[in-house]
Symmetry: D2
Subunit: 398 residues, 4 copies
């Protein structure tokens, strides 16, 4: 094993906007919960690091694949004032990359494999959660790790996986063994790198949205990776009709591949009318807002709920947005409907179930439209500021 | 038994606003689902009627008590153009009154008492649902009677209970027998007349809101009859703290009597800050919007959820309003929260459970602040347009 | 239209066993809730009837297909003392047949199509629930039609569908329109006749069992029509592995066709060990007891739960049996498991969702292994006392 | 602070019964998951120990009160062959005591108070969970800490709280601050020591049993501390009638004090008939088996469910027993009922909600019928082998 490794590093200046006040968990000059208020002049560099050593309960993983996420793009993208777009927890410099898969190469003491309840011995194919929930605060103790009050995040304020190696606590890892029958060679790790984003969608529609009953209709607004993963999950869950609302033709095609029965272009048809037409006037049991434009999308969802005959519709808001949706309570009353927010991917048996779905026929790999090498990561992160053609770009390690 | 009876009748002119189109279930000159678009010049009259006869599956009830509801007020109240305020299903002329209790005096063939599974024989003390769900449409067949597609409503488009007698299908009746140990004489029927509005609150916070776990905090916005009933129900359900937000001093006092541990005046304190102060920074698990002013109230609820540490809060919207609440999806995401609409009181075991609660200590009768006679109903309905002093005014029959 | 029709009629003698006492809803000489205690010397006859007339809220249906159910066999089968095997609600003579589909030919006044909310006009393809829930007793009012306290049943105490025509209240009908795109000609009605038994399975695993999350494992004990339908439903619902336990080779093959990933022969392998082997030691989230032999089957289920790592397993008991299962509470404690009983198919949106599933790819028609004519029904009902080769035998009307 | 402390220690011989095989997590001579198969000749000794030091994430607690639990009695009680009665996880010698409250006196680095999210500074009044869930195995990661695969238990295989001091990881502690308004002096810690057993009952009836709706009836079988705590919790949760089944007159009286509306002596009346009589023929929505004699108790519960009109009853089995209950599936089917196992008290927000209930009126301290000093613990543990008079005996530290 080499002793040095290269890694894609996000560097930025700590230059808080006027009026910014350090939060309780912020650390002067190093870390903040409000990235876009603080970090300026982001730069992507490939830096050299010592290969890290696993401590107690940790393992060293040789990274095999790692996808680029939209948040990677927003962390590296300056606005007109030079501040990064990404609004959340960040601590720079930081190695990016959190949609990872790899192989355990070394284990610290007490690093136990959840699947076998035995110590990691090396050679295990794994993926990891991105959220390093503490397991000790009240939300964690109560069973809500996605709402950890002392959260750290891989590739945001903790070094990530656009690197040859990464050290992670064993408790965040999930075995990719179940995938080995269906995926061979690189494909195992490509599939494995998709477990994390698929789990975000699964948490949204299954854990938070409550899933559906076989024969229900669903509507997914937005054909990004989360929306497309939701198409696959809800098709698998038994939806009668999966309707994807997405203007891009390439995404529409991908949507059909992932399980959408119909794709609507909301810029060309009336969203609600089309949903009602496709469902014989019933509408859907579950609507997923995955566009990030809730003020644009919600009125159409509300109309479909109001005019459709389906009762008990759930609207799940998974895309992050600062905007205020105009919500008519009467529609929720008359149609027995509800609105729910979804965040995270940890806990609730989500990761292992996503892996089981992939192991038994839910193929997410079509989401990966481009494979790149580590050195190409920076240019691709920058390219994604404007590109609308690629879906998931994934770094495959040599 | 006399052969004639007097009854408080709402009379109005069928004079649709320009552009009004008859709906599928509207009947020209007789009935509409959009009252405020059609009915003009409402008048309350005490008219004389033949005492009705119970048909198949029906019973004749001698009414003993009947409360005035806010919708009675709005049906009889003209706006500046002379149209009634009440926006929903209405068919005039109609005897008003739907918060009723009474005694069965005659039963048609096949009118069976749900409590005994035997035919009604006369003498049974009963209350009734206000919603005459058909039991045959898809929502009814699927188990959602509050969303019946062929609904009729007592005292709105079907003759109501501000009368000596009323005929009703047996299936909408619920026995008041369990109350007899605790309530004697008139009190039995006063309590019985409160089952219907209490069931609206119960449906909102228990069936729709999902109830709470003992030790959770709750916040009720609005100290009208529904909000006050919700205080009693949630106190009974084990809330750690029931916080009522209500500016009126008389309602505040009534709130404390009904179970509120604290009453906030949102016109004098910052609602969210006060909720957080009273809950040691946690906020509440359930917020009930029962004011009818969601655009005013929601921002405060949202702030309490955002700044409080409680996860999984449910906002139940029970008051009807046409306004659009400004909802920040991110708050629902970060706090794992949800918004739910509540409508109706039927089904889900609500009426019998409300009666059981009343039978075992949940005393709702303090809600009745004034008792009147049948002839006084019209003037009191009109007085309630402006009065903020009385809570529930109840007509007690001679 | 002819004025007479032939119908398969079950005739038996009212000859109560010693000690039998008439129940509250029993009718001397006509009807009992305890068939096997009362009816003796069953005979199947093809009798001639006047074609019935639809009354208020009813329609006349021309039957197109009707399946033979196990209960038909048990009603017509005498034990050693000559009493029928079937233990439940029965009133003879009665036309048998309750798994029906057909076409509306005439509608009484107020017979409204749930799908359109308009009166039936004739020509509609429909299926029907078997359970004539009253809609007026407390369980019905509370939302539990499968537990109606005044139940009647088609083909048990109310004339059934092994006949050219049947009259039924419109509220029990469900439109087969959604199936028309996928099923043509007779196939529409064959599929339609399977909605009822499929709904029994759906009610068991989805409504009562609570469904599964995509990626969960399930085990179905018993490859009769209900067990096989459950295989199809749970595969559709996203199970990682559907394991069917069934000794018959022909049923095993049918099981694979309906969605089972694996079939176990519990007479040849250790049930629990095999389940654990196929699930990598995890076991299943849902176990369906559909054999009618719970004392034989439960110990194996309990062992699989105890030794498997899956928490929160649900055991659904759908097959009727008088036996006592030996249940170790400690297993339910340590594994966070539960046991649930399932009965019926009505309510909860089950029929329309089953139809939507069939309309969008869940093909149940392989369950039908033999098609017969009306005259052949009696001999086939008798043949099924011993036959283990056929699955569903369906009468197709000329 | 002294440097030495006395502690009640359970000593026993490692002398496995013939045929015993070391389990995966057993440790030769030190620890086993099957206590009664291994440990012989138990002795209670008061031994002297160095006062422990808190490590990383840990705090040193000065114990103020600690209750004796039935499992303490069974660990110290030999059967005819000299083996201990307690069947579970044990590692001796071990300081007993797990129903504790106390004051933090010293904090290791990173020992954070869940209530404030700040480091413990000393002086905080706390109680602790008994189950040291690892937070890293699959059940813990999935949200089921009561089913941790690497569990340790205070006072069983980890030194407990019948001692002046105890060191515990901060994450298992819960602040008693909310109790300070209502409980002063020793009472604060007496109440605090009851949080653990009350949480076992809360987990059983609320988390596992699903709670009730206000107005439901409940039946508690067994008036031990768990059963009595369940009476208080369910009364608080809004039960119409809390019925306790318990033969002992002193326990019956205590039951009434804790919230039981009725107490049945099942040795003198027919349990099911009495339940039905008290509930007007309805029976109960929730039955708690807290006797440890399920084969004796279950037939009565089953009869009450079968003959009662209540649907959807839940039977929660919380008491541990090796016996097999005779369960008739048909009863679960006809009555839409279910059986559930309950274990543990951790997670799901249980501890903090129990504390909130106590802080707002649910007084559990009547459960403590005797207060003793540390030196008296051994004799009282032995006395409880036969005593049926005391409920909770609690050691109050000087």
């Amino acid at each position: 094993m080499m002793s040095k490794m290269k890694a894609v590093t996000l560097v930025a200046d700590w230059d808080p906007r006027p009026g910014f006040k350090l939060g309780a968990k912020d650390i002067e000059g190093k870390q903040t919960y409000l990235g876009s208020k603080v970090w300026r002049n982001p730069k992507l560099e490939i830096r050299e690091y010592d290969i890290p050593k696993p401590g107690k309960g940790e393992v060293l993983i040789e990274v095999k694949a790692c996808g680029i996420c939209g948040s990677d793009v927003h962390m590296a993208q300056p606005d007109d004032d030079g501040y990064i777009f990404y609004p959340g927890l960040t601590g720079f410099p930081c190695i990016l990359g959190h949609e990872l898969s790899g192989v355990v190469v070394e284990a610290g003491p007490g690093a136990i494999d959840k699947r076998t309840n035995k110590p990691y011995k090396g050679g295990e194919a794994v993926t990891a959660e991105e959220m390093l929930w503490c397991g000790e605060c009240q939300p964690c103790a109560d069973g809500w790790p996605n709402h950890c009050e002392r959260l750290n995040e891989i590739g945001f304020n903790v070094n990530g996986a656009f690197a040859k190696y990464i050290v992670l606590p064993a408790k965040y890892l999930w075995s990719l063994d179940p995938l080995k029958e269906r995926y061979k060679g690189d494909d195992l790790f490509l599939a494995g790198s998709l477990v994390e984003p698929t789990s975000v969608a699964y948490n949204a529609v299954i854990e938070r949205g409550g899933g559906i009953r076989p024969g229900d209709n669903v509507v997914i607004c937005g054909g990004g990776p989360i929306g497309l993963a939701a198409c696959a999950i809800l098709k698998r869950h038994g939806a009668a009709r999966v309707i994807l609302s997405e203007p891009s033709a390439t995404r529409a095609e991908l949507g059909r591949k992932m399980g959408a029965d119909y794709v609507i272009d909301p810029t060309k048809v009336d969203f609600a009318e089309e949903v009602l037409r496709l469902t014989d006037g019933y509408g859907a049991s579950l609507y997923l807002e995955a566009t990030g434009l809730p003020t644009v999308v919600y009125p159409g969802i509300e109309k479909a709920i109001w005019e459709g005959r389906t009762l008990n519709s759930t609207v799940v808001v998974v895309a992050r947005a600062d905007a205020k949706m105009p919500v008519t309570g009467e529609v929720l009353q008359v149609r027995r409907a509800r609105i729910i927010g979804a965040q995270g991917h940890s806990g609730h048996g989500t990761f292992p179930r996503v892996i089981e779905c992939m192991a038994t026929g839910m193929d997410m790999t079509p989401l990966i439209t481009k494979k790149i090498k580590l050195e190409e990561v920076p240019e691709n992160i920058i390219m994604l500021r404007t590109d609308r053609k690629e879906c998931k770009i994934t770094c495959v390690m040599d």
